[in-house]
């Protein structure tokens, strides 16, 4: 990175300028730091040239190493939530926009984001099956139980009872939003998809520690 050309620097600065205007949670310097970080994550010039950005594997590494996520399925869903244009790569813009919610989102933004993550098939509802899928590893299996899935099924019913306000057996966005506003703990009802305060703090500290000189 040390031999980064003046040209590159200029481009980055302009990009930061534009993005910081579009994404409200970061100022220009912060945006620039994040872009540098984004660029630093490639190491492969070709990718940058083609303009694809981060692929699934690299992104998952970040989620795992930096934000301490472990659940494969959830990480996959987080990738999809970041990857707004569904091209299987996260571009600089998507990176900044995603991190804005991820790190500093308001409750509204986070609700939208979480719902997106949990709506596995993207049909606008979180169905019983989706919940089951997300919760299936959440209980310790008792070898003595006849039906090992019984607990999970019951948990799904409990979640539905708690959140399904219109009683249609699935969670619409409105259901989800109402429930979370009532009880903030339900924001990550079906699995941890946001970093905790400590990780955010550590990440920001690391990312913003040497702001680029102008």
């Amino acid at each position: 990175m040390s031999e980064m050309s003046a040209m590159d620097r200029k481009i980055i600065q302009n990009l930061a300028e534009t993005l910081s205007r579009q994404v409200k949670h970061f100022n220009r310097t912060e945006a620039e730091c994040l872009i540098r970080l984004f660029n630093g994550r490639f190491g492969d010039q070709n990718d940058r040239k083609t303009g694809h950005g981060l692929d699934r594997g690299k992104f998952r590494n970040i989620l795992h190493n930096t934000f301490g996520m472990t659940d494969d399925m959830i990480m996959d869903r987080v990738f999809r939530a970041f990857d707004k244009d569904n091209d299987s790569y996260i571009s600089v813009k998507e990176w900044i926009e995603g991190l804005a919610v991820f790190l500093r989102g308001t409750l509204d933004e986070k609700i939208k984001y979480s719902f997106n993550v949990y709506d596995l098939n993207g049909d606008g509802y979180i169905s019983r099956e989706e919940m089951f899928h997300m919760l299936k590893d959440s209980l310790i299996r008792q070898p003595t139980e006849e039906d090992p899935d019984e607990g999970v099924k019951d948990l799904v019913e409990i979640a539905l009872k708690k959140m399904d306000h219109d009683h249609d057996g699935r969670l619409s966005y409105t259901d989800f939003e109402t429930a979370v506003r009532e009880e903030n703990l339900l924001l990550e009802a079906f699995g941890p998809c946001l970093p905790d305060a400590k990780r955010i703090c550590a990440f920001e500290q690391q990312a913003f520690q040497n702001p680029p000189e102008h």
Binding site: D137, G151, I158, A189
Partner: protein
């Protein structure tokens, strides 16, 4: 015989397993019947006797192998019968004291061999074979309750089989059934002769016994308590699964001379149970026919005293369980009676009115309350004494709450099972499952006791508290949200403390997450409602952390979101400190942690929900002097006064009680006036429905009225009229303060007339018959102040107030005695025919002279002052002289300053009779009196000079005085501007001089 054994026999444990057959008359006759049956079995039914049992009857025997003779092979410790069963087993086999028997004929033989031990053998046999029929005939004949079809089934089998052996077997069965019926009918005869207890008779007995409890010396018992407050519709207090055993209730009886007795009342009678042991229900004593008989056997003290109790009339009077207040009322009516039959009653020997001594004792509840800290729920009101470790009575209540016995599983509500399931998910789920389960648990009505206890009983508390130790903030928040709600229940509070929950919550206070801090602080606030919890919080550094939470900017106009959160954190911290501040140690800890200035800053907050815990904490802490000074110097009085004008009644109440406690100090009283706090206080007197508020407001008025400037303000606001109106129909917590305020106001002469004109004298005099000691202290003071005006005195006299004051000299509390004695002084001074009036109190003069033996200086000073007044009447002086007043007064002359003036006055007035002057001299009272002249108190000088003047009329006294250098001192006093002092000093010197002259004359002339 199966049914008779399982149902009728009295086993020590009703549960199955190896119980013991006790030695009761019932069991004994049952055993004898069975023994008879066995003994004659072989001869009567030889065929059946040889039928082999399906399973051998086995038991531990005490029989010695050498007792077995013919037909047996004995080798060492083993015995085998020669007879063997069809499959070769010996019919009797004994080895290492375990015996196995296979036929009735062998049983008959054993009974014969056992001889005098036969009853014991049979008992052990039955104890170890709870259902012998099943063993004899096979498990299909096990005794079952309800319809028994075994016989029918067996008949079918016999019919289809036509086996010879079955024929015999059925005969045996019929024989056994016959025995069963026979046993039952004979037992029934016995049982029906016994008295059966019913819930009603037990209840009556308990209420009767409760009336014998108390604190006095003559009490018979200390207390009788049910273990459960809940009474089922049938009158029983035991859980249903114990009711089937006929148990009606459990009692804890504290006697005067034994350990607490844990008693089970059952329909069969009452007996001691094994409370505290593993077998809590097990019988530990004989069965007695009722409670009184049991107590007579177990408590010699009870047996001795119960017979001294008066007959039924007294009992009926007290049958209802009386709470503290009711007791107060009965006492009052009793006092009324006493007033009317005063003389008569006094002459009656004490045992004619037993219990009177007990009744005059304050109920323990009042003792706990300390000096007027009113109400159980809110610790407000009076400044509690410094040495009391708790300024609130609330936790006492908390402390005593009985643990309820677990409910039976049969009638558990559905919530219980739901909660159990959720707790299972909490235990076995990851973070996500835990959060869902926690959220779902919050949907239950956690304010309901069933849910609270269900969470505890299924082990939920342990899990919730464990979650607090994890790293997951969401789980911690969810868990605390639940703990916060359920910790409103005192049993849960205890359980949380027992599970070390407080320690963890205190640690959480360090967390950077503000929501978490809030929840932890609020939960601590809920849990720390009892002493042990408060101590735990302090010992783990909780107070310091809680005080740190208070640090925020509460009053700036625009707050950022973060600042708002800080304010919320501070509010929760204040809530927790409020609970903690009920312990004296914690008050100190809050101060040391620098909490006072922070509280002072929060006091500027405009929000009521912040102000209530802050002022609550302050008023709680104001029982400490350091806090009172700090509240004054940190300028908090202004804010307290400001909040008196709040719309919120609770806030007003806490402000008023803070002022109540702080206004002991003169500067504070002045500040309250300067910030115009007196008017809102008077305005609060209109809140006659809200007794707590009224108590706090009247308390504040009382303390403020100690300053005369404030009294003038109160006059201006017409507070006196309102206060007089509050003298009736108010609880004692309010009355104490109202009367206190009137007493202070009446120190200002014009107010005395106002009180009379508003009709205040009568209710005040009526209150003299009360029993609440702080109230009596205030009432006597108020009556005394009123009596300073002759017109008032006329009213008091007409209402027989002086007699009532005089009877209060008998009150056990020295404060009451002293205050009554002081009140008597102006009465005697201003009453018409005071001398005659005093004489009419039979034994009154003796009583007051006797009080000179008191150890309390206040009492002595008051009594001396009263004696000075009494001695103005010559006849009365003669009487008190007869009672030895001179010696008693002389004995007191060595006492210190406080007393001197009044003692000197009393001596001066007592000199007027007979040879009293000489007696004082002989008793050595003169020399100490001379020393009084060296005191720097002018009023002491005057009284002493007057006393010396009286004493100097006796020549010997003059010599003593002269020897002690009185002349020089008196010469100085002759130059005083106080004419009375001047005159007395001059008179004394003149007497001394005259004696000297006469002496010279006799010698020389």
């Amino acid at each position: 015989m199966g049914i008779a054994l399982t149902r009728a026999a009295q086993w020590t444990t009703a549960s199955s397993g190896t119980g013991k057959l006790e030695i009761t008359p019932l069991n004994e006759s049952l055993l004898k019947e069975i023994l008879d049956f066995v003994e004659n079995f072989s001869s009567r039914h030889p065929q059946e006797a040889n039928l082999e049992f399906k399973e051998p009857l086995k038991w531990k025997t005490t029989l010695d192998p050498c007792n077995f003779k013919m037909e047996y092979e004995v080798s060492g410790q083993t015995v085998r019968s020669v007879e063997a069963s069809s499959d070769g087993q010996p019919l009797l086999h004994l080895s290492s004291s375990t015996i196995c028997v296979l036929t009735f004929s062998q049983l008959t033989k054993i009974v014969r061999i056992a001889n005098d031990k036969k009853l014991k053998e049979l008992r052990t046999c039955l104890e170890e074979n709870r259902d012998p029929v099943a063993k004899i005939l096979g498990p299909s004949f096990a005794t079952v309750e309800g319809e028994d079809t075994s016989v029918l089934r067996f008949l079918e089998k016999v019919n289809s089989n036509e086996d010879k052996e079955h024929d015999v077997r059925i005969k045996l069965l019929i024989l056994l059934k016959q025995l069963d019926t026979q046993l039952l009918s004979s037992l029934l005869k016995q049982i029906s002769q016994e008295i059966r207890l019913s819930p009603d008779t037990v209840k009556n007995d308990v209420t009767l016994l409760k009336s014998f409890c108390g604190n006095g010396e003559q009490r018979v018992l200390i207390s009788v308590q049910y273990t459960s407050d809940y009474e089922y519709l049938n009158g029983c207090r035991t859980p249903p699964w114990r009711q089937v055993h006929g148990e009606i209730c459990y009692l804890v009886i504290h006697t005067c001379d034994t350990d607490p007795l844990y008693v089970t009342c059952s329909t069969a009678g009452v007996f001691l149970n094994g409370e505290g042991d593993e077998n809590a229900y097990e019988r530990k004593s004989d069965i007695y026919k009722d409670l009184v008989t049991l107590l007579k056997h177990h408590s010699p003290h009870f047996a001795e005293h119960i017979n001294k109790q008066p007959p039924s009339t007294q009992k009926i009077e007290h049958v209802e369980p009386v709470g503290a207040e009711e007791q107060g009322q009965t006492q009052r009516s009793y006092e009324h009676q006493e007033k009317n039959v005063h003389e008569k009653a006094r002459q009656q020997p004490a045992q004619n009115k037993p219990g009177s001594k007990k009744k005059l004792e304050p109920s323990s509840k009042w003792k706990n309350l300390g000096l007027g800290s009113p109400y159980h729920k809110t610790p407000g009101g009076g400044p509690s004494s410094e040495d009391q470790s708790e300024s609130s009575s609330e936790d006492e209540e908390d402390e005593e709450q009985p643990e309820r016995r677990p409910e039976s599983h049969a009638d558990l509500p559905s919530e219980y099972w739901h909660i159990q399931k959720l707790v299972k998910y909490l235990k076995g789920g990851n973070q996500t499952a835990t959060v869902i389960a926690l959220c779902s648990m919050r949907d239950f009505n956690l304010a309901q006791e069933t849910c609270q206890l269900a969470i505890r009983d299924v082990g939920g508390l342990e899990v919730l508290i464990n979650l607090l130790d994890t790293e997951e903030i969401k789980c911690k928040i969810g868990s605390l949200k639940i703990l916060k709600e359920i910790s409103c229940n005192s049993q849960i509070r205890r359980a949380i403390a027992d599970l070390q929950g407080l320690q963890t919550m205190v640690k959480i206070l360090d967390s950077p997450d503000k929501e978490l801090k809030c929840l932890a602080a609020e939960t601590i606030g809920n849990v720390a409602k009892f002493r042990r919890a408060r101590r735990t919080v302090r010992q783990h550094g909780g107070i310091k952390r809680l005080v740190e939470l208070l640090d925020c900017v509460p009053d700036s106009a625009t707050l950022t979101q973060e600042q708002e959160k800080d304010v919320e954190v501070a509010r929760c911290g204040a809530l927790a400190l409020w609970s903690c501040s009920r312990s004296t140690w914690n008050k100190g800890a809050i101060r040391k942690a620098g909490g006072i200035p922070l509280l002072g800053r929060l006091l500027k907050s405009p929000h009521e929900n912040m102000l209530i815990p802050v002022v609550g904490t302050l008023q709680e802490c104001a029982s400490e002097k350091t806090y009172r000074i700090a509240i004054q110097t940190e300028g908090m009085i202004e804010d307290l006064v400001k909040n008196l004008n709040s719309e919120n009644r609770e806030l007003q109440m806490h402000c008023a009680s803070a002022i109540f406690k702080c206004a002991e100090d003169r500067k504070t009283r002045d500040l309250v006036r300067r910030y115009e706090g007196l008017r809102p206080l008077v305005a609060l007197l209109q809140e006659t429905e809200n007794k707590q508020l009224l108590a706090a407001a009247t308390g504040a008025i009382w303390k403020c009225s100690i300053s005369m400037e404030n009294v003038e303000k109160f006059q201006e606001y017409k507070a006196l009229e309102t206060l007089v109106a509050l003298l009736t129909e108010q609880p004692e917590e309010v009355l104490v303060n109202v009367v206190g305020a009137l007493g202070e106001c009446a120190q200002n002469p014009p107010n005395r007339a106002v009180i009379r004109k508003c009709g205040g004298i009568q209710p005040l005099v009526n209150l003299l018959t009360g029993t609440n000691q702080p109230l009596l202290v205030n009432v006597t003071r108020a009556v005394g102040a009123c009596a300073m005006e002759p017109e008032n005195m006329a009213v008091i006299d007409r209402l027989d107030g002086v007699r009532l004051l005089w009877s209060l000299l008998k009150n056990p509390n020295p404060d009451v005695q002293a205050s009554a004695a002081w009140a008597i002084c102006p009465c005697i001074e201003n009453a018409k025919d005071a001398g005659e009036m005093v004489r009419s109190f039979v034994g009154g003069l003796e009583l007051i002279v006797h009080l000179l033996r008191s150890t309390s200086k206040d009492v002595l000073a008051g009594v001396c002052a009263a004696i000075a007044e009494i001695a103005k009447d010559e006849e009365n002086l003669a009487v008190i002289t007869d009672h030895g007043v001179v010696a008693l007064l002389a004995r007191l002359t060595d006492m210190d300053n406080l007393l001197r003036r009044y003692l000197a006055e009393a001596i001066a007035h007592c000199c007027a009779w007979g040879a009293n002057r000489v007696s004082f001299g002989e008793a050595g009272a003169v020399a100490p009196l001379v020393r009084y002249l060296r005191s720097d108190n002018a009023s002491v000088h005057r009284a002493t000079a007057q006393a010396l003047f009286q004493l100097s009329k006796d020549p010997d006294n003059c010599i003593t005085m002269h020897e002690n250098g009185v002349v020089k001192l008196l010469l100085g006093m002759m130059g005083s501007t106080d004419e009375l002092l001047q005159e007395a000093a001059a008179g004394c010197v003149a007497n001394i001089r005259r004696l000297a002259l006469a002496n010279e004359k006799a010698r020389y002339g």
